[in-house]
Assembly symmetry: C2
Homo-oligomer: 195 residues x 2
DNA sequence: GAGTTATCCTGAGGCTGCCTCAGCTTGATG
DNA sequence: CATCAAGCTGAGGCAGCCTCAGGATAACTC
């Protein structure tokens, strides 16, 4: 509606920067153990900061999640660029999807947030998600150009499969992680079968 | 831990039954519009009942969800039995998966609950989920016996794919519903390809 | 190193939702 | 119509969200 997504940026004053970093650290830990709906008040107190300070730096939960996961998404984009050099484009795509699934399920609730951000501008994570979308689409296109992936598959469908795998992994919390098999089956459904 | 899952059952007294039904009706509507984490106090007041009454009949949110979705799961099991008579077992499996995905995504948050219930006894929905698991496994086995589905696919893996599709559909809320394509691709990954 | 100011911090408080329980009401039963 | 188990009520304690008025302080200037 307002069109101006919150993108938290490191503040200028020394105490501001210190707190910003402390909050981010506490948030990463809390998300990892309690999922994306961890208590913000807990995070603030873990960071040794009043709740108002947390809200000053991260006006919404989504903006905090964005800041806490930005690095990971950047890595994913960088990884795609490195993989693009591989001789076998299907191999590159496969490898990238594996990495993406792992990142998407860093903590419980992340996939949902990213999936929403992917197509909803005005969401803090949208920019990074769009970049990642491009990376994935590039790898996909290359694999299709090489005739290794069915040509009618769209990037959106690819991300659906990818998110589905991440969601399954996320659910698995304790015990059975079905995502590797999930991905394998998805790839079988996706690749062209010349013999 | 306590091993005694709550299974809400229709009470004996007339006013009790009336309220029980009213709550269930309100809950179905609320879940449909606000997802599985709809406000229980809203549901109670929509049903024209005090919050304590809701808790009397449904001591946990999960027990309310269970009661609100029991019919649908029963239908799914019955549907599987009907489909088992079909000449083509792959056709039966496909059709059933389609129906299951639709039911699983009746409202936002349901897939997650069902996926958890499937392997967590001591959850209200566990009994129905186990029944449904059996139905799906039977259809799968038949399709495998007929050589139409890869023999190394386990029922758990089938349900992972199924839940993944339902999750994608659930996310789609507004606009794009990727689940039909998702399922189609999954099926391509699953079926044996004799020519 | 004193003064100025924009930046930053604090935490009480209002709000919503969860859930419990002591006390009251009422349908069912003889 | 008397009894009472089953059922109902809603205030209240608790947790988490988020805001905002008032206070503190880094950074910059002279």
């Amino acid at each position: 509606m307002d069109g101006k997504p919150y993108i938290a940026q490191r503040p200028k004053r020394a105490d501001g920067r210190r707190n910003y970093d402390a909050i981010l650290t506490a948030a990463r830990k809390a998300f990892e153990t309690s999922g994306a709906d961890a208590s913000l008040e807990d995070i603030a107190s873990q960071a040794g900061v009043a709740i108002g300070t947390l809200y000053r730096h991260f006006p919404t939960r989504a903006s905090l999640v964005e800041a806490a996961t930005r690095d990971g998404l950047e890595n994913l984009v960088a990884h795609a660029e490195r993989l693009a050099a591989r001789p076998d484009p299907l191999d590159a795509l496969t490898e990238w999807m594996r990495a993406a699934v792992v990142h998407f399920s860093t903590f419980r609730g992340l996939v949902g947030i990213l999936a929403r951000s992917m197509y909803d501008e005005g969401t803090p994570s949208h920019a990074m998600c769009a970049a990642m979308h491009r990376s994935g689409a590039d790898l996909l296109r290359a694999a299709q150009a090489a005739g290794r992936v069915r040509p009618d598959l769209t990037p959106e469908e690819l991300f659906d499969l990818l998110s589905g795998a991440a969601w399954v992994r996320e659910q698995a919390a304790s015990g059975r992680d079905g995502s590797p098999r999930f991905l394998q089956l998805a790839l079988e459904g996706i690749t062209t079968r010349e013999r």
